[in-house]
């Protein structure tokens, strides 16, 4: 049987596979793709995963109403309890947040994240939105998964313009590959089946480090079926459309 899937499906399933049963997991604003991945993990192998989010809805039963925002009241309306953002931050400070999903605009081989500016900090060429919770969550959450729907030499750079934060990055998932952060450097862990090592090399602004290179697992039929059920409007692809 030939499976048909989009890059957003592959990224969502790859992220879902990284989440483990029983973990406390947080996502923020503009985070539809990891939100869907969390819901997928909960419906597949991690029923006891604890879904935390900015509006404070613990374990919302559905994400189908989160059309334009991953920080809306719908996540509280469908939740089993209320646990707001400031308490999620405190939870992370106490070392009890297992996984946080964050992003940024530039990343370098040393695991530095820039979500602040392009150019000079005080007279920026481009003012970016800011890291939101990143500067405290990336260092304090036990594991940080970064997702970014762009993979080009402007995103994965030799040296970031500004270090908004660094810390407990575990994996970075892009449309082309998965990086793992170990021994202070980003290492290529797997490349997606639709690309080649040459393409990843071409699109990355720093030299690729890798030991054993594999292809990223394709989504399973079961995962793809479940995605249709939990995310029928394909919110996971929003970032690819805008």
């Amino acid at each position: 049987m030939v499976k048909s899937y989009k890059i957003s499906d592959l990224m969502t399933c790859t992220i879902a596979d990284l989440l483990m049963d029983g973990e406390t997991v947080f996502h923020g604003v503009s985070s539809h793709l990891p939100m869907v991945a969390m819901q997928l993990a909960k419906h597949m192998h991690a029923p006891n995963l604890v879904h935390l989010n900015i509006p404070g809805g613990v374990n919302p039963t559905t994400i189908k109403n989160a059309s334009y925002s991953s920080a809306g009241a719908d996540l509280v309306g469908a939740a089993e309890a209320y646990f707001p953002l400031e308490e999620i931050f405190d939870l992370s400070m106490r070392g009890k947040l297992d996984t946080a999903f964050l992003s940024g605009v530039q990343f370098d081989i040393n695991g530095n994240v820039n979500a602040s500016v392009i150019g000079d900090y005080h007279k920026p060429k481009v003012r970016l939105p800011g890291g939101a919770g990143s500067a405290v969550l990336i260092p304090t959450a036990k594991k940080v998964i970064i997702w970014r729907t762009k993979h080009d030499p402007r995103t994965f750079v030799n040296e970031v313009d500004f270090v908004t934060t660094r810390g407990n990055i575990w994996k970075i998932i892009t449309p082309l590959c998965v990086f793992v952060y170990k021994n202070g450097k980003l290492h290529l862990e797997s490349i997606h089946p639709h690309t080649t090592l040459e393409e990843v090399e071409k699109q990355t602004g720093f030299p690729l480090l890798y030991d054993e290179l594999t292809y990223t697992n394709e989504p399973s039929i079961q995962q793809l079926q479940k995605l249709k059920e939990i995310d029928p409007k394909d919110y996971r692809s929003l970032e690819f459309l805008s």
Binding site: S30, G56, L75, E86, F89, M93, K123, T164, T165
Partner: protein
């Protein structure tokens, strides 16, 4: 220093924000954890001197806040960049009336090197380094709620974001509300009151006062209006956009109470 309640695309006190623009307020200092249309609109009319925030942007489908970016990139105005949590800590400092709060995590990035509201000192007890964030004492907090009585006892439905904290941190609290409810009703619901009236200076009845952002249990975000605003470039167009809300923003006037 004005603290603006609510988060990104949700329950922003837009009627009040538009009134600031109509009255041509300028040199405002704003504080908010994560802002979008409210901050972008005040930048569009040139009302802002500084913004203190962890995040300023619309969400994915609406893109980036053009007016804010343009102003910051031109060097006209300053961003006091925080993590959302350090804004929360700075407001907690104000809530307890102490000059600073210790925070974790900031030592790994450059924000503490470039911004003087973060400092690293020696913990007097353990002698270990500890990062402090300077407390933020807002003069006024403006919070839009679904229900409030004439005394200012306010109930927020759905996510409260940092509104309750802001109501304790600011010197003066202004509530705009979808509905003014009779006092016996808030009394029946007294355990649900998020902001007690004795903290509140003024209550303003503004139905639909959060539009074009969403207001839980009342209305959804106004996609068309938000997209219209985001597409605007000229000052005249922006003023026209604000004027298009005049009738609506004043529709609760007959029931305006204590100011």
């Amino acid at each position: 220093m004005l603290a603006i309640g609510e988060n990104v695309l949700h329950r922003a006190p837009m009627a009040f924000i538009r009134e600031l623009a109509r009255r041509k307020k300028s040199k405002l200092s704003l504080v908010k954890t994560a802002g979008a249309h409210d901050i972008d609109l005040l930048y569009a009319v040139g009302a802002v001197k500084t913004v203190t925030a962890g995040f300023v942007s619309y969400e994915t489908v609406y893109g980036l806040p053009k007016h804010y970016r343009k102003a910051v990139e031109s060097g006209e105005v300053k961003t006091n960049e925080h993590a959302c949590y350090t804004v929360i800590s700075a407001l907690r400092g104000a809530q307890a009336n102490v000059p600073f709060m210790p925070v974790q995590g900031m030592q790994y990035g450059d924000l503490i090197k470039y911004n003087d509201y973060f400092v690293v000192v020696e913990d007097p007890f353990t002698k270990e380094p500890v990062t402090l964030v300077q407390s933020i004492f807002p003069d006024v907090a403006i919070i839009h709620v679904q229900e409030c009585d004439e005394q200012g006892n306010a109930i927020i439905y759905g996510p409260k974001f940092e509104d309750v904290l802001m109501s304790r941190a600011a010197k003066r609290i202004i509530i705009t509300t979808e509905q003014i409810v009779p006092r016996y009703k808030t009394k029946q619901n007294n355990e649900r009151i998020d902001i007690p009236g004795f903290l509140v200076e003024a209550v303003v009845h503004v139905p639909k006062g959060a539009l074009p952002t969403s207001c839980y249990k009342k209305y959804e975000l106004d996609d068309k209006a938000l997209r219209t605003f985001i597409g605007l470039k000229e000052k005249a167009e922006i003023n026209q956009f604000i004027s298009s809300y005049d009738l609506q923003d004043y529709s609760g006037q007959g029931r305006k109470r204590s100011w």
